[in-house]
Subunit: 239 residues, 8 copies
């Protein structure tokens, strides 16, 4: 939209007094409204999902726990729950997806998989092809090398690196690929620098230019940014 | 390079015992070797610049201060110094540049300009068209609106948002554009949350998906990431 | 009281050895004694409530959890419990309230509602008219605009802004209203800057003059300050 | 302005490419545009001041240091510099001021005076009567008592408490006055909790309801908020 | 002991491989060995208590929780459990105590009582007369005044001030008494500065000379230090 | 003073508008008014010293730097400046001092001497006999042993331990003496835990009961607390 | 391996998509692959253990909790579980071990025993003789002295010091032994500096050269480093 | 020394009242007394050096700045100053050195060289052969590979890794060598995680077992620990 005043006039969908769903968010921002379950009552999540489903036909819910999943079971829709990743997908009906681009998702350790899976599922749901490889941290750098080859072979557009103890995986990967890398620190690790702090710092301090970062455990955010890049590339390809 | 072992065999340019310049970095990583002057002696920066100039024909030096600029004056080259941004550009001779993509650079306040200029100059030097607008922070949100129009009109590929006191400018901008946004917090601001901490946190906590972040004051890093996105888009366009 | 020595001579109500209730606090400070349940045994809260009820005829209890509510059930009084907000109101009998002023309460997200409700109920209980609007954060700034109109239409005296992830809502609101704004960060949000830190910093760093802040999750404190402003305005109106 | 879109259409005054002065800020926000000198070049401050002076006829510059004062000497205007407070006032001509309300400004120690003076001068400049008392910290609580009397006698509308080592002065004052108190921590004090951290925390943790806080050393912010309260009171008085 | 080598030769009581009880600690350090239950298994605490009881005839256990109390029930001794304070006292038989000095213990709020009680019980157990007053924080400073009188009337030797939200109570008390004050911050309070941080900082930043501090929640440590002062005074009195 | 209201009625000595000297502080708090030079202008320190000298006949100034010393040179008095400790003593005339007690002052390293000297001079000036031993840190524990003997031989009343890198000296000393120990961390040391943080934490975490602590670099505070203990002992001795 | 490319070509053992076990890690790094159970599902730990057992014949699992132990019970192997230390050892069959060197393991307090035991078991399992002594902290320094004698008598190669409240035990031990000391801070201790922070800082700030440190609670890491030193010594001995 | 009491009886060399030099430290701890210049007056450093030189015949001074070097020029000795590393070596006469072992010293960037050189010079001075390689950080991992070969070829006993921005170099190196690695974070790097914090955390969080760490910028400490390992190896070799 060229006139920003248009953005400021778009309507919201009132869900009782608890929320104002931004149903036209995709037009303005390129990314559909998504429900973050963490910190919300099961009842609120249920209501938000129901309204969004009715209005848009598909819903992505992130950071859901067992209580949220249980409430969502009650909704009549095509449902796809990934409990490890904390993601619920609801659709009125199955539908085809166009592939806009290719995203590689690398996780340093086994404990980083839930966040990596969050990124993978969201990226796929938004319309990217995802190539995932897990447990390839810098303590055994040989495990990452075959995947560098894969990045070139598959003509990957952007790489998401998920790591909780050694954020340096982002640096090492970036030093061998010529596409943007998005780092996702995870809240894995204990002691000094635990909870994702060390990984976040390492990624921000990286000497490999071309890395940008999202917040700790924000797999969704990384996927959203990767998707926007793919979409932009795709748009230009078509044009 | 498909075979990662190739990356691991590339040669360095030894500069005495002080450095091993990665002259073929661009092939592996998509971004040429750049010299970070901060924390280095003027003499070391001079030597690094000289070797890189001889080898590659052009040099970008960031975070330079007056002492560095003085030392660099002694080098025989086409020189372009931007003291506010702390950037020195050295070239054997002037040359044409191809435009790979378009980057908008928005700065929240007057004090954020040095970092924004660092991003602008690097982006332009790497081959992007830069559209810059400064002093458009959220305390007067009307100032940003004309620039949202500009993003659409100029078909901008990626927006860099530079802000030191209120990182929320990244959120607000992202809520009105459908391209990726890269946030650069700056070390402006005093008291609790000063030195860039508040801005970095705001950008990482943002509820607007599609924002990724570089470290405080890292204008160069944002430009490098933006450039890689543009390059990827450009490559697909040609293809 | 003009003579401060008078303040220093006011009597307390001893509740066993556990507390000295400041029953005349309202005369000195403009705000009645209120019971903060968090960190206190259910038994202690019960005793404090009982003594205060007998002495003053009405009691406000904040940050109560289920255990506290259960204990308070045993008190013979007109009771009004809001479990989402963690507030219990006890009165010997229902009574009329005079409206001293108008307070708008804006919450950025659905997860911020408990703290916003704490502020709303306390403000109303102290004698203000409250105008509440929730889920209007800066990631979709168009949602806040109708409420700016409301502030003018309703001749609001002070605005309370409650936000946990993006404290910038306070800045954005303040940039469009000419009355004082009180910011309340909430302990919503995870990762770096989570738990309310980012929101508190953003509000303190704000470039919109006219914002003051209370501590994270302190909805009661914001309501108390807003009430004092309204009371002062009201007093002058009458005078 | 009832229609928020009006706020979003107001014009800025371009000062080269370095700033967009919000000359109609007062209409939207109740407070005129003010120049924060810290972090800006003397030349930039000079240019901003000149433009604002021409456009509005009066300018407030805060956090100025000797270099800024020197540059401002060159401007042709009625000048009033307070070097201890770091404030420069420029006016095309002297003019009358209406008194909108009364603000008491209390500072805990001698080292807190610069910030207290910043608050005092700004409050007076915006149109409040200021009553100042310095060196009255809680380590000698008897020193504050006569000023509590003063608050009542002068019918003060709001009290600003400035303190760097013991923020508790805000609590103690608030426990004896029935008007709002605004706390300003200062970056005085060394060791653990130094630099204003302890004072900021104390004020936010205070058990005296009715206190709100601005950031460390932000005397201007406290004065602006106090002024808005006075203005609101004054408006109602007239009405 | 004049010869420090003597200190270094004293024997320990081995409790399996889990501990080396310093049964002669009192001779060297003036304070008997005490068992900190927190962080230890119930079984370990039981064994430590049993060995110490057999060897010394009396045992003080601090920071005990319900699991510890249950295990200690099994020991055959004169038992005195204070669950609020988390203290268990075990003795082979009741015995007389000499009063070495007088300690006043002031707590700011109701939530600070557990730590204050820990200090009171330990001080009494070691041989001091304790004068306790709770809920006398600086938000209602008149509540503390009668207790200042008490300090003088009872000829108190040292005052312990326990406070979690406003550590300034230590400053205010110290400004009116001429004996040493020991501050004990407590882990009460939420938000910024919560968990005792604000109180600890306030006490360390205090402008009232004569205050020293122990760690957050360390009621035992304050009592031990107060006891040593009383003992020293008592020794001189006799001499 | 038994009646606290008396404390609250004591008069101050106004020094212009910059300070209210608490000339009768000694009666209320046991410690005379002392001037902290850090953070104050030389002119202000000069004026405060002059007023206090005229009123009380003797002045202690702490944390003075060269600029303060120069200003104080201009005062006509018996002067004693210790530049390493940053202390200036001014007296109308030399006078006898009574010895109230004995304080040992131990410093861990050579870099801790300035703070230790601050403590020593203040303790002596207030009326204690000081026994000082420097460079006796735990990295060479044999160096401290002869001084443990000294504590017993000289019948020391309280030990002040000054340490910047290893605060454990306080624990080790306390484990061999039966009098109270006051810890003073110093801002010596670099890297993680530097600036006194590690030493402050170590002293607060100490497992040797009987240690209390003052803030980083606060040699004056430690001396003041030690003096109050000695005074209390001395009073009882006489009585 | 002299050619680092060899390191980069070693194969991994794929465990579903959850892990890539580095079965030849010992050849490259000197230490076998070990499973960190914390942060992993019981099912994942079970699968990793099973694969590693089949491939290597023995498995070390650290930081296991009851849920992990239960899952591991199902594996058919010689099992040795130490629940206090959180360690599970699995072997196809019992086998002889060669002793490569001698490691002393000292723990400051009873609460530090779990981490010390983790270090002891891992060191023994890797092939060292372990000499353990617990509850010998600096608050009773005489308890450590007999163990200094032991270090010399047993010709210990390296000492591991485990401490949670007073990290200074590492300094004190190092000041009396002439072999390397490895410090392991533990997450014991509460209040300021709790959770291992104070101990980690103390060990890093230590003035006793020859101390190196691992992260908080990382008993395994200390044992691994100690083992490498012993192995190096042993290798040279044989040669 | 088998009897620890012997350690506790060793004599010190008194240097005025400023220091007690531990001249027999080498016997007890394996490492000679070294002078840390930082934080000490030039005069004190001069005196300490003079006394130590007279007593031991050789002196190592670390963290010296220009003022210290100037003072040391006045001492009559064989002098060797390395200004980049901040090290001064003084000897009565040149003497042969035995080589006890081999230490590799790797630095990630050019800015890390001063700390790496501190480690190198100290290691050589104590009696190790040093193999140094600088500017080999993980952003260009191919630069480190030839040095892994070197470690094997030269039969290196221990590797010191010095890194300020990306501490992961320690992990990557450790994953390819089978000897102990000592990490030294440096105070290089700006923004979040700057000043060495990120590097320290990365090294402590490393998933490569066998890494231990010293404090930020502590090149001396790393060299001392490496030397003790070499000495132990050497001793066994001889035996």
């Amino acid at each position: 939209m060229k006139d920003p005043i248009e953005h400021l006039k778009r309507q919201c969908l009132e869900v009782g007094s608890i929320a104002k769903l931004d149903v036209d968010r995709e037009v303005s921002t390129g990314i559909p409204e998504v429900i973050l379950a963490r910190g919300k009552d099961a009842e609120d999540v249920y209501n938000l999902a129901l309204h969004l489903l009715e209005n848009k036909g598909h819903v992505i819910i992130t950071k859901a726990d067992e209580v949220h999943f249980e409430a969502l079971e009650g909704i009549d829709a095509v449902k796809d729950f990934n409990r490890k990743a904390g993601i619920a997908l609801l659709k009125s009906k199955e539908c085809e997806k166009t592939i806009l681009g290719r995203v590689a998702i690398f996780a340093a350790g086994t404990s980083d998989i839930p966040v990596a899976e969050e990124a993978r599922i969201v990226a796929e749901e938004l319309g990217c092809k995802a190539i995932a490889a897990y447990d390839i941290g810098v303590a055994g750098i040989h495990r990452v090398l075959p995947w560098i080859t894969k990045v070139a072979e598959e003509d990957v557009d952007v790489v998401i690196v998920v790591a909780g103890m050694e954020g340096a995986l982002a640096s090492v990967v970036k030093s061998m690929v010529d596409v943007p890398v998005i780092g996702v620190p995870t809240s894995v690790g204990y002691g000094y620098g635990g909870g994702g702090t060390s990984a976040l710092m390492s990624m921000l301090q990286s000497c490999s230019p071309g890395i940008t970062v999202v917040n700790i455990d924000n797999g969704f955010g990384a996927a959203a940014a990767a998707y926007l890049m793919c979409k932009r590339i795709s748009k230009n390809k078509e044009g």
